[in-house]
């Protein structure tokens, strides 16, 4: 019986085997040692028809609970414009591979050039690469860049950086032989005094986040000055969406800007695929990992795009490469590019404004319930932390029962932060949804 993805009819098989002078297909596998040749069937289910697949996966999809999302901590429920999905589904984008043949890959190369340009203008840096896997790995790669630039092996990370990002950097750093030292926090921001004590002439970099894991918009410029005074690199992990309104990493003295682009209209999708960005100053462009697209011209002088500065990369440098990254998250970079083209400078500002307003409204309403206290008297944009007087199991049960998700404990293992929970509000949250959240909490007793 024929299968829909295999075109080999019995007649084809006969002709092809004849051409090769073989009697059966197993003759092609003579080099496989007999005692490891796979003789049995896979212990896997049998083939399903399309109708069966649909009902099987539909049923499993429904074994998840859909919440109204007031959670952040790195993943945000922003609005995704319809054009993004429509255009990224085009097969020319979806089913192509790495633009190794630039003459038939100008579509991919051009949108990467546009992506690099948009990351450049949002971060204020000079150049960006073609994208990274996610924000956490982009930050780890930024730390490797700092090592390569400074030839130093000690990495400082502020305690206000998202814990998943910190854990990822720590894994990468441990195996590469880099030393990681955490800089304590003070009232929701990086503790400058503690930082000064840790800043010595052997530091490769300081990694900070803006807004930080508590949603606080930290002042990065004073930290940059301190780090630069010791010859170190300042790495700023910034929520790229907020850079539509907040100071650019460049304005704050960062040498490398990095982070996740999920907040630019990508669905939460259980955390992936997302896409990371990595941008730096002109002097350090040759230390950027991954692909970079440059503008050039063809034989007839027509504008054309091509992968450039490839001598940095693993396929040329092999064991001398500073990173092993080979691919990028191209299709997600396209989604981000189309998103930014759609919202434009004004729309991006508006996204931040609406998120800011909703978040501040929620904060005020939470405080008025008398059950919550603002944790830090510091400026924030769309995400903030409060101290809950409601025992967390009671709080969470009430939220989940009402299909609401939020109040993520920020540091469940730290006794000082036991009752600190995080909320995020995007432009997608309506007043009715926020009011309902408050109503649920006001009705609580324990």
């Amino acid at each position: 019986m024929m299968f829909k993805y295999f075109p080999h009819t019995p007649d084809d098989l006969a002709k092809m085997q004849d051409a090769l002078g073989i009697k059966e297909l197993n003759d092609l596998f003579r080099d496989v040692p007999k005692d490891v040749f796979f003789q049995r069937e896979y212990q896997l289910p049998s083939a399903l028809s399309e109708a069966e697949l649909r009902s099987y996966f539909e049923a499993i999809a429904n074994e998840n609970q859909k919440f109204v999302c007031f959670a952040g901590m790195g993943v945000y429920d922003h609005i995704d414009p319809a054009v993004v999905k429509a255009l990224t589904s085009r097969q020319e984008f979806l089913t192509a591979y790495t633009p190794y043949q630039p003459e038939v890959s100008q579509g991919t190369l051009q949108y990467i050039f546009e992506f690099q340009s948009m990351i450049q203008t949002l971060t204020g840096m000079d150049a960006a690469n073609a994208s990274m896997y996610d924000g956490a790995t982009a930050t780890a790669e930024a730390a490797f860049m700092a090592e390569a630039i400074t030839k130093r092996k000690r990495i400082l990370i502020s305690n206000t950086v998202n814990p998943n990002t910190v854990d990822t950097i720590k894994t990468y750093a441990y195996f590469k032989g880099l030393e990681v030292d955490m800089v304590p926090e003070h009232e929701g921001v990086t503790d400058t005094k503690a930082l000064k004590e840790k800043l010595t002439e052997d530091i490769a970099c300081l990694i900070v986040q803006k807004p930080n894991m508590y949603g606080v918009i930290e002042m990065i410029a004073p930290l940059s000055d301190l780090v630069h005074a010791q010859g170190g690199i300042l790495i700023e992990n910034a929520d790229i969406s907020t850079l539509g309104v907040l100071k650019t990493p460049r304005e704050e003295g960062a040498d490398i800007a990095c982070g996740d682009c999920q907040s630019l209209g990508l669905p939460m999708a259980f955390g992936g695929p997302s896409v990371g960005y990595l941008a730096t100053l002109k002097n350090y462009v040759r230390k950027l990992p991954g692909r970079i697209v440059g503008m050039s011209k063809d034989q007839l002088g027509r504008r054309a795009f091509v992968l450039t500065l490839q001598a940095r990369e693993q396929h040329i440098r092999r064991e001398k490469a500073n990173s092993n990254i080979c691919s990028n998250q191209s299709l997600m970079a396209l989604a981000v590019t189309i998103y930014l083209a759609t919202v434009g400078p004004e729309g991006l500002k508006k996204v931040n404004e609406l998120s800011y307003q909703g978040a501040h409204y929620l904060m005020d309403r939470l405080e008025k319930t008398g059950y919550f206290q603002r944790a830090f008297a510091k400026p924030f944009l769309k995400e903030f932390v409060v101290r809950s007087m409601i025992p967390l199991p009671v709080l969470h049960e009430a939220l989940f029962k009402n299909n609401l998700f939020g109040a993520i404990p920020v540091a469940p293992e730290d006794p000082d932060k036991e009752n600190l929970v995080s909320f995020a509000v995007t432009e997608k949250r309506s007043k009715a949804e926020i009011d309902r959240l408050i109503e649920v909490l006001e009705g609580l007793s324990w």
Binding site: H8, N26, Q106, Q120, T165, D298, E346
Partner: protein, 488 residues
């Protein structure tokens, strides 16, 4: 031919917009209160309306060549057909709405999918357990090498820091080794493109952490001595790493775990049909034998009595990515496995291998075949048989584009100077292969009769050959650079 040649920025007209956002509910809160923290310059993003956005990206998409455009025999990349049903199933809005930090009780469905796929990959590869967290093949390699290193360290064996990598390996192998904090020991291929056992014996010692091997290797050849190789490495105290880049060749025929491999990654975007997306997102799950299970990266997805949960293990190498990998990529791979089922999955390797050998046999009279014998899922030639007119592999590849076929991988593996690496995959028909063969032969003849037209190829693509030196010298990497150094 007039081709569309605008950048999105060049369509910008001040005041235009394409966004659709709700009205402000709370005008009493003023963003301007953050003024001291705000950027001074408005970002240079395009101001366009929706028709512009749609036409622009549709137009530039048409300058691309995808698997659905035509034959895409890009060696080592397994450019097989990307089924539509996979796209349809992952498009379920429920999947998009899941926040990765949701509690386990509310995401039993996606955790079940994770667990189901990791279990199936274990059966397909003959290993004990998989993580789906790595984002790509290279990311999987790095994860696997970290596991290798952690295993030796946990035994208190800190000397084992060297990894044997064949000279024919993908560039990511040596690069991943160094990033994992280990050293590369390169082993040369023998005349048949295989591992030289005598040389391997000479290299093995008590500072070897393990060996990375692609099997079939990048020359498309299976290592007949594989059991001997894994035994030698194991006897010397090392672990075997299987680079799953070429797994498609052996589906249904042999399993990495049975050959003696301890750790492997799978490129789901190759063997399991997920779209390559112009370079990503991919997915690079890593599987290990039982003694290495506790080293897998966090978070882990586990099952107890039909209940799925997330757990961090203390012996784990740690976290290597923000959450659970590229969910919507690995979910497509699961749909693919369920679509094929055990019966069709078992045929993938033999059809892929048949197609590659059919092409090899038909072209060996015109292109230099450096290694005799049956190949696996891909065949590698070393340029034209008759190079008297000076026509190089690059010219052949460019000419193919004129015939509406994607070029094979060229100049890799590095062992040959004029390498042409052809991987048809199992989802191509004999008719398509015959057409490709005819065109390749025609090009070989053109190389004699009209070499000039090959040197200037391609002629019928949106742009011709591109000046790479100019790109590297000018370094125009952004629209801002372009405005600053406009050239003619």
């Amino acid at each position: 031919m007039v081709t569309y040649d605008r950048l999105i920025f060049e369509l910008s007209q001040p005041g235009r917009s394409a966004y659709s956002l709700p009205k402000s509910n709370f005008p009493e809160y003023d963003l301007q209160s953050l003024q001291d923290l705000m950027r001074t310059e408005t970002p240079c993003l395009p101001e366009v309306f929706e028709t512009d956005v749609v036409r622009h990206y549709t137009n530039i998409s048409q300058k691309n060549f995808g698997v659905e455009t035509g034959f895409y025999p890009l060696g080592s990349c397994t450019m097989k057909y990307n089924p539509k049903i996979n796209d349809e199933i992952v498009a379920n809005p429920m999947f998009d709405a899941i926040h990765p930090l949701q509690p386990a009780f509310s995401i039993q469905g996606v955790l079940k999918l994770y667990h189901e796929l990791q279990t199936m990959l274990s059966e397909i590869s003959g290993l004990a357990e998989f993580t789906l967290n790595p984002y790509a093949g290279a990311h999987g390699e790095l994860t696997g090498l970290m596991i290798m290193k952690a295993y030796h360290e946990q035994r208190g064996d800190y000397r084992r820091k060297k990894v044997i990598v064949p000279d024919s390996a993908h560039g990511t192998n040596p690069a991943s080794t160094v990033v994992s904090g280990m050293e590369v020991v390169e082993i040369r291929s023998n005349m048949q493109g295989r591992v030289d056992l005598e040389q391997l014996k000479a290299i093995l010692s008590d500072d070897i952490a393990g060996m990375m091997l692609t099997n079939p290797n990048t020359l498309g050849m299976f290592e007949p001595d594989i059991c001997e190789i894994t035994k030698l490495v194991h006897d010397a105290g090392g672990l075997m790493y299987y680079d799953g880049a070429n797994l498609n060749a052996i589906l249904g025929k042999v399993r990495p775990g049975d050959m003696g491999f301890d750790i492997m990654h799978i490129n789901l975007h190759k063997t399991f049909s997920t779209p390559h997306g112009g370079g990503g997102p991919g997915s690079g799950p890593v599987g290990v034998k039982q003694p290495l299970v506790d080293f897998l990266p966090n978070p882990r997805v586990k099952c107890l009595d039909g209940h799925y949960y997330v757990q961090n293990e203390k012996d784990s190498i740690g976290r290597i990515s923000a959450f659970f990998g590229n969910f919507k990529v690995w979910l497509r791979a699961l749909v693919y496995i369920r679509t094929l089922g055990k019966e069709n999955l078992a045929c993938v390797g033999e059809y892929a291998t048949l197609n590659a050998n059919y092409v090899r046999e038909a072209l060996k009279g015109y292109y230099e075949l450096p290694i005799a014998g049956f190949c696996m899922h891909e065949c590698v030639f070393d340029g034209l048989k008759d190079q008297s007119t000076g026509i190089k592999t690059l010219d052949v590849a460019k000419r193919l584009l004129d015939y509406r076929m994607h070029a094979p991988t060229i100049y890799f593996p590095l062992l040959f100077h004029q390498a042409i690496m052809i991987e048809p995959t199992e989802t191509e028909s004999k008719q398509t292969l015959d057409e490709f063969i005819a065109i390749m032969i025609k090009i070989a003849l053109e190389a004699k009769s009209d070499p000039e037209s090959l040197r200037n190829a391609p002629h019928d693509t949106p742009v011709g050959r591109i000046d790479e030196v100019f790109a590297a010298r000018q370094m125009i990497l952004t629209y801002k650079d372009y405005l600053n150094q406009k050239f003619d």
